[in-house]
């Protein structure tokens, strides 16, 4: 991915969305089938469950040029694997705090619950996140540059 050095005209945020197969991905699918419009800045990666997401995947995305990352899974109590999202929630609570503590801008990494029925909500969520990241400008902190 080509990384612009600064906020320039024509720059578009790149967002990586890790969506759980059972709810959020289906939600994205529904958004598409229902023809809800949302910005095209998001690249979706389908994963079995939100708990599958390791902090490494999030950090590596930011390192290699993503301006924002979204991890989305089933609402609490709806996990296909019963408790995957509960376990993920604890993990991300710590990660989220840690990233903020280190000074990584708020608004780069997002977590959400989106069900298979929430096509509209998915479209809105992506629209919101895209706009938030657009306001922040290109990611800087963890981006790998040749030194």
């Amino acid at each position: 991915m080509q990384q612009p050095d600064e906020k320039v005209d024509g720059w578009e945020p790149k967002i990586i969305a890790f969506l759980c197969n059972w709810c959020s991905y289906a939600g994205a699918d529904l958004a598409g089938v229902s023809r809800f419009q949302y910005p095209p800045n998001t690249r979706i990666i389908r994963v079995p469950c939100s708990s599958r997401i390791s902090p490494l995947l999030i950090l590596k995305s930011l390192q290699r040029g993503a301006d924002g990352v979204l991890v989305s899974g089933c609402h609490p109590d709806d996990c296909h694997y019963l408790s995957g999202n509960y376990v993920a929630r604890r993990k991300f609570a710590i990660l989220n705090n840690l990233l903020e503590y280190l000074g990584i801008e708020k608004g780069r990494v997002h977590f959400a619950w989106v069900s298979a029925a929430e096509g509209k909500r998915f479209a809105e969520l992506i629209t919101e996140i895209t706009e938030e990241v657009r306001v922040l400008g290109p990611a800087k902190e963890l981006v790998k540059k040749q030194d």
Partner: protein, 316 residues
């Protein structure tokens, strides 16, 4: 009261003689002032080497994993907490270890003393009741030990062993009224820019020697993510982004497991303030999930558990 070193020797000797353990892991005199060094004792004669003083700073729990023999281990409060974490993670069987618990007054941070002496070299150090007598070429100074403890020691609230099979001497009084998260809170209060700046400034010193990882009793993954080639998570150079990710993820991996023994911080040759990161994780685990690592054998580790009403304000 008999000398702690002597009591440790007697206990170790007895354990070996009675064949209750095959190996004692403890400390012997180091080769430098203010230094002790881990030692491995297998015969009762060798127990004479064992010592105890304020420079027994290494966390010996690090040496427990993967052993077949029965082990006696000399353990401070923090070491016993690490042992508990290891037992919970099924890395060590409780019945395999005989814990020789030693109440601890805190360990001396020799770097702090060196900084105070500003280049003057310590050639001899003696611990006495009043403090530590430091001798060097052309100077003799006595310093107050309490002033030069490791940060993790001066805020420690588990100076007494949490579990043990034998206790050496009497329990010591625990620290009271100390805000162990003072430094973390101070850091939290700074602006994001400033925090990122000081984080990267620290990390830029990293030479990727992995002393922090290797000194940590809980960093025992068969294959550390930094060593994986398929996928290769991060590059191998000291590129700032790569080293930052190494430290972020390593610290994250200690969540609910780190007992703030300070081993990583002490091992770092470049003086990176690693504890500022581990302590934050420890604080969050306590605040979010009401869990403290290594204080009993019962509580389920926080990342292996959940509660229906865990905080989720950060989730959209």
């Amino acid at each position: 009261m008999p000398d702690t070193s002597v009591m440790i020797r007697d206990t170790a000797k007895k354990l070996l003689d009675e064949k209750r353990v095959d190996l004692i892991i403890g400390f012997e005199k180091g080769t430098l002032p203010l230094r002790s060094t881990p030692c491995f004792v297998r015969t009762s004669q060798e127990t004479e080497k064992l010592i105890w003083n304020a420079s027994c700073e290494n966390n010996l729990a690090r040496y427990l994993r993967g052993r077949k023999e029965k082990v006696g281990i000399v353990a401070k409060g923090c070491d016993t907490r690490s042992i508990i974490s290891l037992i919970k993670e099924k890395q060590v069987a409780r019945e395999q270890v005989f814990i020789i618990g030693v109440p601890c007054h805190g360990m001396i941070d020799r770097r702090k003393i060196e900084a105070k002496l500003d280049g003057k070299e310590i050639l001899e150090a003696d611990e006495v009741t009043e403090g530590v007598i430091l001798k060097g070429s052309g100077f003799t100074e006595i310093v107050d030990k309490a002033e030069f403890l490791h940060n993790s020691c001066s805020t420690c609230s588990y100076r007494n062993p949490v579990i043990y099979d034998a206790l050496i001497g009497d329990k010591v009084e625990e620290n009271r009224g100390i805000d162990e998260y003072g430094e973390v809170k101070e850091f939290e209060a700074q602006s994001a820019d400033k925090r990122w700046h000081s984080f990267t400034n620290e990390i830029s010193k990293c030479i990727r020697c992995y002393a922090c990882r290797n000194a940590c009793p809980l960093c025992y993954c068969q294959e550390c993510f930094v060593d994986s080639s398929q996928p290769q998570w991060i590059g191998k150079t000291t590129n700032l982004s790569d080293t930052s990710i190494f430290h972020i993820v390593r610290v994250f991996h200690t969540a609910g497991r780190c007992v703030d023994c300070g081993a990583c911080d002490r091992a770092c040759p470049m003086g990176i303030d690693i504890r500022k990161l581990t302590k934050k994780i420890e604080k969050d685990v306590k605040e979010l999930f009401h869990y403290q690592a290594g204080i009993n054998l019962e509580d389920v580790p926080p990342l292996a558990a959940f509660s229906l009403d865990d905080p989720q304000q950060f989730v959209r």
